[in-house]
């Protein structure tokens, strides 16, 4: 008799003669598979022929009505039993897959046969075809098959096996899907199944379509195979940036520019939308347009064009409000997307501490970049793998070479010193030049060089400092991946200096313009007053209004700022392209064609071909994006230009890389350096948020241009909207929310929350580290144990298991005792008290893990709750049970 079944509380069901019996019998092989060595009494019934079953069915039908209630109760039991079976199945997954597959096949065939016979029997007997039990059973099997089909593609089978399995499963499904419904429901069910199938197919096609729609995928793949993933990471970053800019462009274009152009007042209607009389002659010259003056300046590309009408057009679109909100949401969206992508990058990289455990394994099994499809790159890769192997061997053999360590340390300090000197020098140079340019700006006739001195010096610095840094960085002898990060950080500091000097100069300019504004305002008023009240005009005829071009106007500082950013972006783009064209393409041409008639080998020797400058390009992209973020508030058209720039630069740089660059000498993988880019981007985003926020919050807008003209501060537009357009109680709520008495506690609360979460995550990671250390220690112990006595008897291993697990509990307890209360709380939450030790023991002890856990007879198979200390005992008793009887 089966001890397993007798232990189940719902055993009485077996006594009720109904047609559930054959089904339980069908389950039997599965259960028998799970627990070899246990006999199944119910398994005897399928052998009995169909006449007997028919008898049973007849009887069953008679009892059917009374049986229903019992049936539902049974179902629960059955579900529980099934769960048992599955649990044991899971534990038994160790045996080889092939065996399992064979078994599975057999089972499938058996079930198929049985189902055919049973369903035939039932359909012949009466119209009421299937009992609930059977239905549930078939339904479950159908679900299983479906699951099998869905997970087919991730099964490690050869294609022929996949196809065979698939055919079987599909046959089964076709046969039984329809049979599941009764009468009317049948057709509905079949229809639903059909629709579900169609839906799945549609989703699959849609997924295909989506993967085909990823832009530039092939181009980037191509580059990746030639230059390794580090170069490709730049292009992926570029593509990502393009996507972000497209969204920003959509926001600004759709909510600000289009409404203003369609519904706002047309060009020439009011002074701010008209070119002044003095500039009119030259306003269409190319040189003027190129500088974003003339018609460009008085177009919707810039802040000054927008009118301060509260609502425009028949939609009564509140443009000033929209302008402000879009400006805010540009930053909001960028922050959100950057942080989100950083977080998603971070999620995969939690197992950082493992890398030192598996140095050689990782080098051996994961160092080859399978995306390399170019023999030159492959050569480099071979070389770099060899060197890295050699490096780690050297590390392994002699743990530390004293002089070398000191030398490298010295060299690194020296290098950092030199670079800091360079940075300080360049900072001072910029400062000096900016000072001089302020003097020049006061003078009348200055030469072209004197006017553009700042820009020239900054571009020269940007051109010569990075190579200098790279030369110095060779002293440090870092791994190129780390070296790249250092290089990025240093150039970042340099660029940051440039950016902030530029901003300071701009601020001075703005302050100057602001101080002049009051006088200009008076002049305007006076002119208008004079114009309308001048004598010598017939009072009866109203005077025609002054032509907008003739109205004197202030020097709209917002537009000036926007123009500066626009110019900077365009000149930056041109400089980049020209550098690529000259530095890469012409150099490559020269090296390639002059090599025939030169006295030394140009390709291998001095000029050689250029390598792709990852750090420079990434930083260029990041800083350009910073410009866009800063400038987009004052020049809504800037994002459009940037989208164009990114698009052209994608194609141009792809071409330049493929045509005129060579792979890096040491090809290295760009694993997770993407997050480093993102970090820099976030920093730049923050830094570019500051000046914009400052100007919005603390500078008064110009009096005669832009959507906020006439207001004291730009953010007054929100207050105005709240007061005029919202119900009064909402206004009160807003006023209440803006109260510092509420904001300060909210900020405090946020700080506290951050502090709390930070400490929790820290303690968790500490616990993690401790567990890892424990595993390490246990491994060491086991290793030494193993080497000492090779003939480990079962009893001995049992002892070690026990001691280990005890050890384990102690360690855990100690670990929890060490930490703060909050940490122990979290630990407890995670592992639920004493259960922690047993679960930890399970992961730690390989012996118990690999033992096929079988239950001793008489033990309730499903205890449900984890029992402390139960695990080692159970496994050992299982071992004893496994031993053949003496």
């Amino acid at each position: 008799s089966s001890p397993h079944l007798s232990s189940l509380p719902c055993d009485r069901s077996r006594r009720s003669p109904s047609m559930k019996r054959p089904h339980r019998a069908e389950e039997a092989p599965g259960r028998r598979r799970a627990q070899p060595g246990q006999k199944e009494r119910a398994g005897g019934s399928p052998g009995s022929g169909s006449p007997r079953r028919k008898q049973a069915e007849r009887r069953g039908r008679r009892e059917l009505l009374g049986d229903r209630e019992r049936g539902s109760a049974e179902k629960i039991c059955r579900g529980r039993r099934k769960k048992d079976g599955r649990a044991s199945l899971r534990e038994q997954r160790a045996p080889s897959k092939k065996e399992k597959e064979v078994r599975r096949k057999e089972e499938v065939w058996k079930q198929l046969k049985k189902h055919r016979s049973s369903s035939m029997a039932s359909s012949t007997s009466s119209g009421e075809s299937l009992s609930e039990e059977e239905l549930a059973h078939i339904l479950e099997q159908v679900e299983d098959k479906k699951k099998l089909i869905a997970s087919m593609r991730s099964k490690p089978w050869p294609m022929s096996r996949k196809l065979a399995e698939l055919r079987e499963a599909q046959e089964f499904l076709e046969k039984y899907e329809g049979a599941l419904g009764k009468g009317k429901g049948k057709r509905l069910y079949a229809y639903r199944m059909l629709m579900a199938k169609k839906w799945v197919k549609f989703k699959r096609d849609f997924d295909n379509f989506k993967t085909q729609c990823i832009p530039w995928e092939m181009k980037i793949k191509d580059i990746e195979s030639h230059f390794g993933s580090s170069v490709a990471s730049y292009f992926i970053f570029l593509r990502w940036m393009y996507g972000v800019n497209l969204v920003l462009f959509g926001l600004i274009f759709g909510l600000v520019i289009i409404p203003e152009v369609l519904m706002g007042m047309p060009y020439g209607s009011i002074p701010r939308k008209t070119v002044p009389r003095a500039e009119e002659e030259k306003a269409m010259d190319f040189s003027v347009l190129w500088d974003f003056e003339g018609y460009m300046k008085y177009s919707a590309l810039f802040y000054g064009y927008y009118n301060n009408q509260r609502t425009i057009g028949w939609l009564r679109y509140r443009l000033p409000m929209a302008y402000f909100m879009v400006g805010v949401s540009v930053f909001g969206y960028s922050l959100m997307i950057v942080i989100r992508s950083m977080a998603s990058n971070n999620q995969g990289s939690t197992s950082e501490g493992d890398s030192d455990n598996f140095t050689f394994s990782f080098k051996m099994f994961t160092s080859w970049d399978y995306l390399i499809g170019n023999s030159e790159t492959a050569d480099n890769k071979y070389a770099s793998i060899t060197t890295s192997f050699k490096e780690s061997i050297v590390d392994e053999q002699e743990s530390s070479k004293e002089e070398n360590v000191h030398l490298t340390r010295f060299l690194r300090v020296l290098a950092n010193f030199l670079i800091i000197c360079c940075l300080c020098g360049s900072g001072y140079l910029i400062y000096f030049v900016v000072k001089r340019s302020q003097e020049f700006s006061k003078m009348q006739n200055v030469s072209w060089y004197e006017r553009n001195e700042v820009e020239i010096v900054m571009s020269l610095l940007g051109m010569f400092c990075p190579p200098l840094f790279e030369t110095i960085a060779t002293l440090e002898n870092y791994h190129p991946r780390i070296g790249l990060k250092w290089q990025l950080g240093r150039i970042f500091a340099l660029f940051l200096g440039n950016l902030y000097t530029f901003l300071l100069a701009l601020m001075d300019d703005v302050q100057l313009k602001l101080s002049n504004e009051e006088t200009i305002k008076n002049i305007t008023h006076w002119t208008l007053f004079h114009y309308y009240n001048s004598s010598g005009w017939n009072e009866s005829v109203p005077r025609p209004p002054l032509h907008p071009a003739d109205v004197p106007r202030g020097s709209c500082w917002e537009t000036a700022v926007g123009i500066e950013f626009m110019r900077l972006t365009v000149s930056d783009m041109l400089v980049t392209y020209i550098t690529i064209l000259l530095g890469d393409f012409l150099r490559a041409c020269f090296v390639r064609f002059m090599n025939y008639c030169w006295c030394w080998d140009l390709e291998a020797g001095f000029p050689s071909y250029a390598e792709f400058d990852i750090s420079g390009n990434v930083l260029g992209l990041i800083f350009n994006q910073g410009m866009i973020w800063m400038g987009s508030f004052y020049a809504p058209g800037l994002v459009g230009i940037n989208v164009l720039r990114l698009l052209t630069s994608m194609y141009f740089q792809c071409w330049a890389v493929m045509s005129s660059n060579v792979p890096h000498e040491r090809v290295f993988k760009a694993s997770r350096s993407n997050n480093f880019y993102m970090g820099l981007l976030l920093l730049v985003l923050f830094l570019s948020l500051l000046p914009v926020a400052y100007t919005i919050m603390s500078l008064p807008p110009s009096f005669d241009c832009g959507p906020f003209s006439g207001k004291n501060r730009m953010y007054d537009v929100i207050q105005e909207t709240v007061e005029n357009d919202f119900p009064t109680f909402l206004g009160k709520i807003f006023a209440f929310l803006a109260n510092p008495g509420l904001i300060i506690p909210a900020i405090l609360l946020m700080f506290l929350a951050i502090y709390y979460l930070n400490s929790v995550s820290k303690s968790l990671s500490r616990a993690n580290a401790q567990l890892r250390k424990k595993i390490q220690a246990l491994r060491e112990v086991e290793k030494s144990h193993k080497s000492v006595k090779s003939r480990a008897t079962a009893r001995d291993s049992e002892d070690t298991d026990k001691s280990n697990s005890k050890n384990d509990t102690q360690l855990t307890k100690e670990g929890t005792a060490h930490h703060s209360a909050s940490q122990s709380q979290t630990l407890d939450q995670k592992a639920q008290g004493p259960g922690a030790s047993s679960s930890a023991g399970k992961t730690v002890l390989p012996a118990s893990q690999h033992l096929p856990v079988s239950r001793a007879p008489g033990v309730r198979p499903d205890s449900g709750q984890a029992r402390p200390q139960a695990h080692p005992w159970r496994s050992t008793s299982g071992k004893q049970a496994w031993r053949p009887p003496h």
Partner: protein, 179 residues
């Protein structure tokens, strides 16, 4: 679509699509056919038994610079000789595609690197792997040291061999494995 239907029946195509990671069956078929136009017929409705020899498989741009191309071809081919039927070919692309889950990749990586269950064979295979990776530029002692180290690091249950469990355990933690 018209082209595909002449090569495969609709049912075949459906079935392949369920089994494959990357579902551009038509494109893959033409690549397969391009490898040996005189061998592979353009009509697959009757499932002809055709194999493309390893020399042609190994010369594909995806594989030609890969030091493990022979192992890859052997693992995916039916008899371990590197000659591939269309099904094997599709298998290979399915596993190598970006969409394949890490577990599946780990399983095949285990087979490709030949870290077999048999300790002696496993050792030889590991030596081969290192030699292939470095093009034989390391000395024998260095290679054997590396192999020892690898076994030492990755052998989780200390039975002197790398089982699939060990291997999966190790490789799923690798920072460079599948990004």
């Amino acid at each position: 679509m018209g082209n595909k239907q002449t090569v495969f029946t609709h049912e075949q195509l459906e079935a392949y699509q369920v089994g494959m990671m990357d579902q551009a069956i038509g494109g893959l078929f033409y690549r397969y056919q391009d490898l040996a136009p005189q061998l592979v017929p353009l009509d697959y409705t009757s499932c002809p038994d055709v194999k493309v020899p390893y020399e042609l498989i190994g010369s594909m741009p995806e594989l030609k610079d890969n030091p493990f191309r022979q192992r890859i071809a052997q693992v995916f081919s039916e008899d371990g000789d590197g000659h591939m039927t269309l099904d094997n070919f599709l298998d290979m692309f399915s596993v190598m595609s970006e969409m394949a889950p890490r577990d599946l990749k780990a399983y095949y990586a285990f087979k490709i690197y030949g870290v077999c269950a048999d300790p002696r064979v496993g050792k030889w295979e590991r030596t081969q792997t290192v030699t292939k990776l470095t093009r034989g530029e390391l000395s024998t002692e260095e290679v054997s040291l590396i192999c020892e180290k690898v076994l030492d690091e990755a052998d989780g249950d200390h039975d002197g061999r790398l089982s699939l469990e060990d291997f999966r355990n190790m490789i799923l933690r690798a920072p460079d494995f599948l990004r």
